[in-house]
Symmetry: C2
Subunit: 243 residues, 2 copies
DNA sequence: CGCCAGGTTGATTTCGCTCAAGCAATGTGG
DNA sequence: CCACATTGCTTGAGCGAAATCAACCTGGCG
């Protein structure tokens, strides 16, 4: 404790590996310096909220580490987890750029660190480098595509199929391929949160998991999942595959 | 037939009333001229498709008249109507701007006319007038917000509540307020298509309509609907209202 | 006239929600 | 160290909203 440095040489914009895969990859060194100088970094504990539905944004957030969930809820207390964001990803840009209020809340799902970049800085960056705006445009467009797909899935697929699809997304994002061709994942979410991502209840989630185990689609143990055959998994929601 | 002029003095970009309410309102006369000269106008019959899911966009469309529906479908033939677009609105910008394929099909729901503006023209406009890009950004952001709301609604509201919400949207968009405080609408869609907008079957749609009639929420006759009390209608999906 | 698409209605089934209880792991205060 | 609350997960029983299946009606249109 005593010999720990005051400031860890933690992620900064210049060394950030994830930056290459995000909107910020178009920035020049001088522009990065602008962010680096202006940003305010903060730690969040699991469950803590970064911003709340209805708030007015006055900047955007960039995740240094951890994982943030975007959650939307209605008057009755029903909630959906709309999106997961991790290291390097930008948070809260939608409402900020649209000049509107947040229409979802952001909450830390793990211990996380996020930087806040204020309005003037963003504005200057956007003016200075139009490519950045275009990047954001692409990002929102992609998110919109994902949302549309989710709408279709919710009305046309069963809970089980939707969960299979979610698992497949996790495999692609966090999965490790084993030597024997099977995949394994460390789930980034609790069962409750997974339930809330596919729009169902914890109870149904639990039953679905059990049934998929007995069917040999996946083996669950805590947050670790073994997928013997991705092909079978895909088949659960995309049965057009034959052979 | 014989004495019909070859070209009707139909809507053009300069006289278009709807333009003021769309992305294009930021354009100068010189820029409008660019579109006006480059656009290709075409008529579509009901049911005709403007573009199909999976196609690669090479421009965007602007609706002169009529109504276009954005429809997404999966392998099994399940479909959802995601969005309705009418006069002055832009179509196909999402995939175009994201530089990806269309992920939904567009089809005429009424006899419609739409202009096609090709990639080079759009590109020139975006470069010339950065405000246009920002407008599109706002538009996509709004659409994304709507999509997120729809996701929440689909999981937390009943078919009846979702339909009530859809009706309310129609009231705001196409409704006429009568002298006695009641509203009336001419539905822009068939029952099937309304069912497909709220993610249900025609059968359930039919039953829901019937039940709402007997409950005095609305009176249906063909495509005309009378809403005695919007308050009651809103109450169907947003029960937080008391008094 | 017969056909057909769009719509309604009825009977039946099913999926997933609700309610309720139990269980394991973790934490807390005495 | 134990009694206990708490939290996340699982399991069971029952119910209900909505899908499915199947007729049937209606109005337009060739």
């Amino acid at each position: 404790m005593a010999n720990q440095p005051l400031f860890v040489a933690g992620p900064n914009c210049f060394t950030c590996q994830a930056r290459e895969r995000t909107e910020w990859c178009v920035l020049q060194d001088a522009e990065l310096r602008l962010i680096e100088d202006g940003k305010k970094s903060r730690r969040y504990l699991p469950g803590e909220t970064i911003f709340r539905e209805g708030d007015t944004p006055d900047g955007i957030f960039c995740i240094e580490s951890g994982m943030i969930g975007l959650r939307k809820s209605d008057a009755e207390g029903n909630t959906v987890l709309l999106n997961l964001l991790s290291e390097g990803e930008t948070l809260g840009y939608r409402a900020f750029l649209a000049d509107s209020e947040y229409d979802a809340s952001a909450e830390a799902l793990e211990p996380s660190t996020a930087c806040f970049v204020d309005r003037p800085t963003i504005r200057r960056l956007l003016e200075h480098n139009p490519a950045l705006g275009l990047r954001f445009l692409k990002r929102v467009a992609k998110d919109l595509g994902d949302a549309d797909e989710k709408i279709l899935h919710n009305v046309s697929l069963s809970v089980r199929a939707r969960f299979a699809h979610l698992l497949m997304v996790f495999v692609e994002r966090y999965g490790k391929l084993a030597d024997n061709g099977s995949s394994s994942i460390d789930l980034p979410l609790s069962r409750q949160d997974m339930a809330s991502m596919i729009g169902t209840t914890p109870e149904s989630m639990s039953r679905t998991i059990k049934k998929m185990e007995t069917d040999g689609i996946a083996r669950f143990s805590g947050r670790t999942v073994q997928i013997p055959s991705c092909r079978n998994l895909v088949n659960e929601f995309d049965p057009e595959v034959f052979v």
